[in-house]
């Protein structure tokens, strides 16, 4: 690959926006090209100094007050007023639970050599598919981890770790509640290029956690454990993208 072609790709690589094949090719090129290696180091240094310089300027309070209306005295913007969302949400959760139970029962009636892990993965893939229907993707829509994380407070009995990986090409889109294996779990929603990834999170319990990796209905899933939580990422992205996301979580 000649260097003039890789000059732009270097930025895609730096921003985590190359597809896995191009990224691999670029890395191969880096091994043999000291110029590009130096350029990449320089771009990384520039990126670091911008991040360190803390150039982000937040909206002044006066602007917030103006927009929220002084009369109501609203000081804070809250994600999704709970009263509006909740009844519907619980109904949906109940319906989904019933469906999952029925599907699970049918599967048990007609065992086709599916392991329990595969059954659970299938239910997570189903949950991911449901979420892709219009209006079901997120209950709290925000790219800000500090908005998404508190949203789970009081809705679920644990505090799932919420991180935005936008700089690594996995921007956080929001979160939602879901039901898997009859339990309410947290789902974090990430974008990967044009694809959506659901990362399901629940407390890992002895002998009862998501594990392994596989494929169901054309969707890949990858599970792992970390800090007492059980994670399972489901998406139509490549397994290597899921692996990359897993590594980002583990690096936290």
């Amino acid at each position: 690959m000649p260097c003039d072609q890789t000059q732009n790709q270097l930025h895609g690589y730096l921003d985590g926006e190359l597809d896995p094949l191009s990224a691999a090719n670029f890395e191969k090129h880096l091994e043999t090209c000291p110029d590009c290696k130096q350029s990449l180091a320089a771009e990384e240094a520039l990126h670091q100094s911008i991040q360190k310089a803390n150039l982000y300027e937040r909206a002044p309070e006066s602007l917030r007050r103006n927009l929220l209306g002084k009369s109501e005295g609203r000081a804070e913007i809250k994600p999704f007023p709970a009263t509006r969302v909740f009844p519907w949400r619980w109904l949906a959760a109940a319906a989904v639970f019933l469906l999952a139970a029925m599907v699970g029962w049918q599967q048990l009636q007609k065992p086709r050599g599916l392991t329990e892990a595969q059954l659970i993965a299938a239910s997570l893939v189903d949950a991911h598919l449901r979420s892709l229907q219009p209006g079901h993707l997120t209950d709290v829509e925000s790219t800000d981890q500090h908005t998404v994380k508190p949203w789970f407070n009081g809705r679920i009995d644990f505090a799932p770790p919420v991180r935005d990986f936008a700089n690594d090409g996995f921007p956080l889109l929001g979160g939602r509640l879901d039901v898997a294996g009859g339990r309410t779990v947290a789902a974090l929603v990430y974008a990967r290029r044009k694809h959506i990834i659901s990362v399901f999170v629940e407390m890992a319990q002895a002998g009862n956690y998501w594990n392994g990796a596989g494929e169901a209905q054309g969707y890949h899933w990858l599970a792992w454990q970390q800090n007492g939580f059980s994670f399972c990422a489901v998406s139509d992205v490549t397994p290597s993208d899921l692996e990359q996301l897993k590594q980002l979580f583990l690096a936290q």
Binding site: H11, A42, L46, Y56, E57, R58, E141
Partner: protein, 177 residues
């Protein structure tokens, strides 16, 4: 200021991105006071247009309105000749000598000055990517450009930022408008 039934929904979905809106306006207009006015204007516009927002990326949706409002404002308050459309293709290619690559000492003031000296299109894409952490897809959506051109535009913007960082003070004159 905002009224009506949709207000709660708007506050929940769009207003969490107020910091992002203000930050973009501040860097496009290079001035906090103007940025506050223009952001307020943009948010009111966004509220009026909220009926057309279905679902999807609320931040990108709002930022698109903010940048358009900023550009309209800049056009109306045409500040000197610098609002000239910038010809990106004639940009000199970045030299690769070590001095221009060494940026370790860059501090906030220096970066602010360098960033503010860039043409708007470069400043915009750098703020969206480096400060706001937008994906290429979001940048394409916000700036209404094909997604295939985001990567090369970023490459040129970064090269230009490095250039102005390596030419201390020479660009300052352009700021004094």
């Amino acid at each position: 200021m905002l009224e009506g039934e949709d207000r709660a929904r708007f506050e929940a979905i769009v207003l969490p991105h107020l910091d992002a809106a203000f930050n973009l306006a501040r860097w496009l207009l290079r001035n906090r006071t103007d940025a506050e006015d223009v952001t307020q204007d943009a948010v009111v516009r966004a509220f009026r247009a909220f009926g057309t927002y279905r679902s999807g990326n609320a931040r990108a949706w709002l930022l698109q309105i903010v940048r358009n409002t900023c550009f309209t404002w800049l056009r109306q308050n045409r500040m000197a000749a610098e609002f000239m459309e910038f010809d990106e293709t004639t940009m000199p290619q970045e030299s690769k000598n070590p001095e221009t690559l060494a940026l370790a000492g860059s501090d906030r003031e220096q970066l602010t000055r360098a960033l503010e000296s860039l043409p708007e299109s470069f400043r915009e894409i750098l703020v969206l990517r480096e400060l706001e952490g937008c994906s290429y897809k979001e940048i394409a959506e916000i700036t209404s450009r094909p997604i295939g051109t985001v990567m090369s535009a970023l490459a040129r913007a970064r090269a230009q930022l490095r250039n102005s960082l390596s030419q201390p003070a020479s660009k300052e004159a352009r700021r004094a408008v």
